[in-house]
């Protein structure tokens, strides 16, 4: 057993941990270093970690005595997480000065949160799962409350912390039930025990499974564990909200897929109905509740609840096409969300941030390029072909039909029609309403480049679907190789 091999397998994680600690020292001891330069260095660290992802551990390898796993699924999801974290941090470079939250700890905490997400995705043991999740959540609670003088930011942080701790408690309770039943925390050993048992699983085990599902559903903000999302998204500083909406969602979804499709695959009859229910409830609530929203950040919160519901359709299918659908959906969701938040961050009038839907009125006249980008993003979110959002939904619904979940697919399509209403309303406000005050110009290089990247990815996906779909296919296959 050599620790060197283990470190190579976890190279991006080790690098992120070390660079976060180095940045913490730099920020604490070099007073002349501004928060912005620390954040810039952090973006560089995330970029290097992305490069290391390709040199680090081989696929299908276990490390650290089976606590840590690398395969095509973790590689794809980690790439998404690093892209999401990197882009949202680039977007926040300007706003940390504008929003009076210029503290170097901001970038350090986001790096630690990213590290936690990578660890979640690579977890191969109930304990490493919990550790990664807690590292990510703890850093995010603090970042949500970063603007201490703002009442709403403190409220958001406190609410997120209390409800998040409750969810962690439920998750831990479920994990201990499962451990009590099987006497092991390793995913492989759990999978073997569930595969070998005859008859119905015991009640205690099912209670444990339900608690685990509830704890993880909170982290992806699926209905009925979504209540924190609108308040936290609205109260937290916009740059932080953008971060919360992008990478952590991908990581938590990856974790849910890993747990349910990995060790618990033989209990599929038990968890399928749970996933079908939370998927249905999230799609419907995400679509209907967003209609009444007048605040862009709350609207994005309900929109993300709805998107999580759509992605869960793929997980409910539980087949290879379904997992591929989830992976494609999360990839496209990531770019759509990052792009939309880039526009929300650009919504500043006379140096003050505005968040209302009506503030977008007449954007097509005052800033046509921004309006065009927003229109593309909203059309994609609504799922209108030929934009990427359509294909995201297409893949998950096809998988659901293949698995025989016709009702789920039909209700999903209906929910996406309802959701189209509020996405299209934003476009109507931008193009046909009387012009409101124009936004501050220029919006800055950072926002423009992020906006370019996300809109180009969404528009070009129909022509070059290769990179995302192939990565997702490989990711989905990694769950089914052993079964063949």
């Amino acid at each position: 057993m050599s620790i060197g091999v283990d470190i190579v397998a976890a190279l991006p994680e080790v690098f992120l941990a070390l660079s976060a600690i180095v940045l913490l020292m730099l920020g604490a001891f070099m007073r002349e270093l501004s928060a912005r330069s620390v954040a810039t260095l952090a973006v560089g660290a995330i970029g290097l970690a992305t490069v290391l992802l390709y040199f680090g551990g081989g696929r299908g390898e276990l490390a650290f005595n089976g606590l840590f796993v690398n395969d095509a699924f973790t590689e794809f999801m980690k790439l998404l997480i690093l892209i999401g974290s990197g882009l949202t941090m680039i977007m926040s470079l300007r706003s940390i000065d504008q929003e009076r939250m210029a503290r170097f700890e901001y970038a350090v905490l986001l790096l630690f949160a990213t590290l936690g997400m990578l660890m979640m995705v690579s977890a191969n043991n109930l304990i490493s799962l919990y550790m990664g999740l807690e590292l990510q959540s703890l850093a995010l609670y603090v970042v949500a409350a970063l603007r201490r003088e703002s009442l709403r930011s403190s409220e958001a942080g406190l609410k997120y912390f209390v409800l998040g701790s409750l969810a962690s408690g439920m998750l831990l309770y479920g994990l201990s039930m499962v451990y009590g039943f099987t006497g092991t925390t390793s995913f492989e050993a759990l999978g073997q025990i569930f595969a070998n048992q005859e008859g119905l699983p015991s009640t205690g085990l099912i209670v444990g499974l339900v608690f685990i599902a509830a704890g993880l559903a909170f982290k992806i903000s699926a209905v009925p564990f979504h209540m924190w999302t609108p308040d936290v998204y609205e109260g937290a500083p916009t740059a932080v909200t953008a971060f919360l909406a992008a990478a952590p969602k991908v990581a938590a979804m990856a974790l849910l897929v890993r747990v349910l499709m990995g060790p618990f695959i033989d209990l599929v009859d038990q968890w399928q109905q749970i996933v079908v229910f939370i998927s249905l409830a999230s799609m419907i609530l995400g679509s209907v509740a967003a209609i009444a929203q007048r605040n862009m950040k709350r609207l994005m919160a309900y929109s993300s609840i709805g998107h999580v519901g759509f992605a869960l359709v793929g997980l409910a299918a539980g087949n290879e096409a379904g997992i591929r659908g989830v992976a494609v959906y999360m990839a496209i969701y990531l770019f759509m969300t990052v792009g939309s938040f880039a526009i929300i961050l650009a919504m500043r009038v006379n140096g003050r941030a505005v968040e209302g839907v009506e503030d977008l009125a007449g954007l097509s006249k005052t800033n046509p390029m921004l309006a065009l980008a927003m229109a593309i993003l909203m059309f994609s979110m609504a799922g209108i072909p030929p934009l990427a959002g359509f294909f995201a939904k297409f893949y998950v619904f096809m998988a659901a039909i293949e698995a025989g979940l016709h009702t789920l697919a039909v209700i999903g399509v209906l929910a996406s029609v309802v959701a189209a209403f509020y996405y299209l309303r934003i476009i109507k406000v931008m193009y046909f309403d009387e012009a409101a005050d124009s936004f501050d110009q220029p919006v800055g290089r950072e926002l423009t480049s992020v906006l370019w990247i996300s809109t180009v990815v969404i528009t070009v996906f129909v022509l070059i679907p290769g990179p995302i779909v192939e990565g997702a296919t490989a990711a989905a296959e990694s769950f089914f190789i052993a079964a063949r």
């Binding site: 620790i3 283990d6 976890a10 941990a17 600690i21 913490l24 490390a63 650290f64 005595n65 606590l67 840590f68 503290r103 700890e105 350090v108 905490l109 630690f112 590290l115 660890m119 304990i127 490493s128 550790m131 990664g132 807690e134 590292l135 703890l138 850093a139 609670y141 603090v142 409350a145 970063l146 201490r148 942080g157 009590g180 039943f181 099987t182 006497g183 092991t184 390793s186 050993a189 025990i193 070998n196 048992q197 015991s202 009640t203 205690g204 209670v207």
Partner: protein, 204 residues
């Protein structure tokens, strides 16, 4: 063997009795002192089981650091437990009902509890022979060897908690005069004291 049993019951009885006193004492300082007594006796129980490292760490960490910190907080904040306990009886019936329902549910869930085959054969870490390695060494092998990944992660989580506490609570107040050792040391008598020649007998 009889002495062993007697000592066990002595420690166990004191732990339970002092735990009851922790929640029923009227004076919070007494509560904390009873907590310390409970810790000491729990450490005694660990010693009886041959877990000497855990026993010592319990005394060092919990009695030496945590309980003393509690004591400081209780003395500084001057909390009155009587006020906290005021609504206690009022919520007792509802609380008892919820507890009862939960108990029945747990009995129903755990009554049908079956272990997976092979659970009791031990899939966890094998327990080393106490004659071969000491407690401390055995624990060290597990924590720093087998589970080093989790140990390091726990360290990072604690670091994040520390950063968070500082970020959210540390306020730099302007206008506070801080001690600067360098300035104190470089100060010369001529900067601070001015000698004036006064003509004698002239008055001020």
């Amino acid at each position: 063997m009889i002495i062993h049993g007697l000592v066990f019951y002595l420690f166990a009885a004191i732990v339970v009795a002092s735990a009851v006193m922790v929640i029923s004492a009227r004076n919070p300082v007494h509560s904390v002192l009873f907590l310390i007594l409970a810790f000491f006796n729990a450490a005694g129980l660990f010693l009886l089981m041959g877990a000497e490292f855990l026993a010592m760490i319990l005394v060092v960490v919990y009695v030496g650091a945590v309980a003393v910190l509690f004591l400081f907080v209780v003395m500084m904040l001057d909390v009155s437990l009587a006020e906290i306990q005021q609504g206690f009886l009022q919520y007792l019936p509802v609380g008892a009902l919820v507890g009862l329902v939960l108990l029945i549910e747990l009995i129903m869930a755990l009554g049908a509890w079956t272990l997976a085959p092979g659970t009791l054969e031990g899939q966890g870490m094998p327990i080393p022979d106490p004659g071969q390695v000491t407690n401390t060494e055995a624990l060290g092998n597990v924590i720093y060897g087998h589970y080093v990944y989790l140990f390091q992660t726990a360290g990072i989580i604690l670091l994040v908690a520390m950063i968070g506490a500082i970020v959210l609570t540390l306020r730099q107040r302007p206008g506070v005069r801080r001690q600067s050792i360098a300035r104190q040391v470089t100060r010369k008598p001529t900067d601070a004291v001015e000698l004036k020649d006064m003509p004698s007998g002239g008055g001020v």
